[in-house]
């Protein structure tokens, strides 16, 4: 690891200048820190794509997400059924969501072309999104605001989040495999199961401020 070059010195009489000067004085005589070995594993999971989907499924379910599998033709009916089962009468539709995903649904569609206000989203029962990728060994789905995912508020305020993961195309094994695929300039939300708390006697309770229901749909036979 090579640290960046020092910048030109700014006004030393500012707080900034004084803090940086104190840092420099503090480490002046310190030994050079040894290089991180980075010999940890790139993945703890099996390499077979089918196994990765199974692992993601199991880990999502372990943290109380409800996991479904369907192929492309079955997706609109599954989404329609999930919305109906939860009694969702309205659904937020992020920009770029494939039209046919909601083709069978009865719920009122609320698009974000004219941005939905926070209050309007609070009166919206559900949201359907895609994702950027999913991490099998931690049971994590990552949203990056790309097409079909919408602004962060859309997947946060409605109480039911139906999230479609393209399997195997969007599934990676591990955190080290996920990071290089993500763009830090985009707003990233990593989701591992529904909202939860362990603040009362360290007893895990699902459902606080984020969506209390997370229905993850593995869309089989799909690439990125």
């Amino acid at each position: 690891m090579t640290p960046p070059e020092p910048r030109a010195c700014h006004t030393p009489q500012s707080s900034r200048g004084r803090i940086l000067a104190r840092v420099r004085a503090a480490v002046a005589g310190a030994p050079e820190a040894p290089e991180p070995a980075r010999d940890h594993l790139a993945s703890h999971a099996p390499g077979d794509p089918a196994d990765l989907a199974d692992l993601l499924h199991a880990n999502l379910a372990d943290y109380r997400a409800v996991v479904h599998r369907t192929d492309g033709p079955g997706l609109p009916a599954l989404i329609a059924r999930l919305l109906a089962d939860h009694g969702a009468r309205s659904v937020a539709v992020p920009d770029g969501l494939p039209d046919h995903w909601l083709g069978d649904a009865d719920a009122e569609r609320r698009t974000d072309e004219e941005p939905l206000t926070t209050r309007r989203l609070d009166e919206t029962d559900a949201v359907v999104t895609g994702c950027a990728l999913a991490i099998a060994e931690t049971g994590t789905i990552v949203l990056d605001g790309g097409p079909g995912q919408g602004r962060r508020a859309l997947s946060l305020i409605p109480d039911l989040h139906i999230c479609v993961v393209r399997a195997p195309g969007q599934i990676v094994a591990s955190v080290p495999q996920a990071l290089p695929l993500l763009d830090p300039a985009r707003p990233l939300t990593w989701i591992s199961g529904p909202s939860a708390t362990s603040d009362i006697e360290l007893d895990r309770v699902e459902g606080v401020h984020g969506p209390r229901r997370l229905e993850a749909v593995l869309l089989t036979g799909a690439q990125r």
Binding site: M1, R7, I19, S192, V208
Partner: protein, 487 residues
């Protein structure tokens, strides 16, 4: 009501009238409810953590990588802070530098006032607790609402946090029910009629109470778990979704972050995002992690996230810690709280006895270094340990807490006072004896043979022995017994 005060030099607050650790702990260990609450909670999480860690074959390597990444960052912290500042500014954020608590509070207060708002929502943050931000804002007529469930319990109960991760760990469900039923109405939406003590019901009451605050909030204050120098990205790790609410919905976001939270590269997160959740909540991954870079999202996508972002970089004693060859390793801490959960002293004394927002073993080495050893509580904290080493074993960045404790004991002893001078002389003598095994054996034998003659408190060391009993001397030294019985 408990109050804290900010000392004149503007460092972290010491709780007013806070007794030294032994006195505070002596009171706490007689509180049976507290002990039962703590024992139940720490034992539960301890076992879960061990299971979550055991799932990863390369845990030791991840731990070593985390340690080295942090050490490297600290060694070149000046350059990484400049790089971070450049990246955050380039992404549309504003960076402020605060030398101490008072300056950080002034900066945040002024930024909130600029928005014209009189209230802010807060994501749980150790840094803002450390500087006493809520009290500083209140003094300027600004209400700060804590939105983490445990912080809400602490705030409504007019209480102090007692654990880094689970600040209300000292409260059981019955106590929490009473606080909600009694106090929620004074801060906003009251608790539902007939509220029970089921954790689900309590979480639902918190959801309803805070919902209106999230939806109308225009300013949020957060901390951050990591800041990536290379990209200017901030990372907040959480469970409930209150973090997402605060980081996403308001127009203005102000993040107060200790300078040591910097990591050099985006890739470095691959280590800490594996070790932090397993160490803290014993999960493979916490429910929600948010990452943002300046105001890039608001500019690229209409209305996604705050349009104004301020980062306040906080020193408040950290550069002093950095200057200490032994003590600086405390700055590697990622605030997971695994060391609290395994500590036999924390389990019995509870978090409040540590007199700081940083309780437990990490607090015992962090508070005296950040605040200095001028007060009774800070001078006693390095002794709040049996040096059993369990904290070091579980630390995901391998902070040798016992080593730093012993180092700080020497500093306290150096400070003077009759008992401390004697203690220092004793430590020195012990060092010499341990280096000279022949002399040690002779001293041990003499002590054993004359044990009936020795007092149980040595004369002239009142300050030391007032809090301690001398151990009983065995009839013969261990090494003699070993030679006779085992060789």
């Amino acid at each position: 009501m408990r109050r804290s005060t900010t000392p004149a030099h503007g460092a972290a607050p010491v709780h007013l009238g806070m007794p030294s650790f032994p006195r505070a702990a002596a009171e706490a260990v007689h509180d049976r409810t507290l002990r039962a609450n703590l024992r139940h909670a720490t034992h539960t999480i301890r076992e879960k953590r061990a299971g979550a860690v055991a799932e990863l074959d390369d845990w030791d390597r991840l731990r070593e990588a985390g340690k080295r990444i942090k050490d490297h960052t600290l060694r070149h912290l000046d350059r990484y802070l400049e790089q971070l500042e450049e990246a955050v500014t380039g992404a549309g954020g504003a960076v402020h530098w605060a030398e101490d608590a008072a300056e950080a509070n002034r900066i945040v207060t002024a930024l909130v006032k600029q928005t014209g708002e009189r209230e802010v929502v807060k994501v749980k943050s150790m840094a803002t607790q450390e500087i006493g931000l809520n009290e500083a804002l209140r003094a300027e007529g600004i209400a700060a609402y804590e939105t983490d469930l445990a912080e809400l319990i602490v705030q409504l109960g007019d209480d102090r946090p007692s654990h880094i991760l689970v600040p209300a760990i000292h409260r059981n469900r019955g106590e929490i029910r009473d606080i909600f039923a009694d106090r929620m109405g004074r801060w906003g939406r009251p608790a539902p009629e007939g509220l029970g003590d089921d954790p689900r019901e309590l979480a639902e009451a918190a959801r309803l109470h805070l919902r209106e605050k999230f939806l109308r909030a225009r300013v949020a204050v957060s901390g951050a778990n990591f800041m990536v120098a290379e990209t200017g990205t901030l990372v907040v790790v959480e469970s409930e979704g209150n973090g997402r609410m605060c980081l996403t919905l308001p127009e203005t976001l102000i993040s107060v972050v200790g300078i040591e939270k910097t990591v050099p590269t985006w890739r470095d997160l691959e280590v800490f995002l594996q070790t932090l959740p397993r160490s803290s909540t014993a999960e493979r991954m916490n429910p929600y992690t948010s990452m943002w870079t300046g105001t890039a999202a608001a500019r690229a996508r209409d209305g996604d996230g705050p349009r104004t972002f301020h980062l306040v970089l906080l020193d408040n004693g950290r550069t002093g810690v950095l200057a200490d060859d032994v003590g600086r390793q405390a700055l590697r801490c990622i605030r997971c709280s695994a060391c609290l959960n395994v500590c036999p002293v924390y389990e019995r004394a509870g978090g409040h006895a540590y007199g700081s927002v940083y309780p437990g073993p990490i607090g015992a080495i962090l508070s005296p270094q950040l605040r200095g050893i001028g007060s009774d509580i800070d001078a006693s904290l390095p002794y709040a340990s049996s040096l059993c080493g369990a904290c070091f074993e579980v630390c995901p960045v391998a902070i040798d807490i016992p080593e730093v404790l012993v180092h700080l004991r020497e500093r306290v002893a150096d400070r003077g006072g009759a008992g401390r001078r004697l203690e220092k002389a004793a430590v020195k003598a012990a060092g010499w004896l341990l280096d000279h095994p022949g002399a040690l054996a002779a001293v041990e034998r003499t002590a054993s043979r004359t044990r009936a003659l020795l007092p149980n408190r040595p004369p002239g060391a009142g300050a030391w022995t007032a809090e301690r009993e001398l151990p009983e001397l065995p009839p013969e030294p261990f090494r003699d017994w070993w030679r006779k019985n085992r060789t």
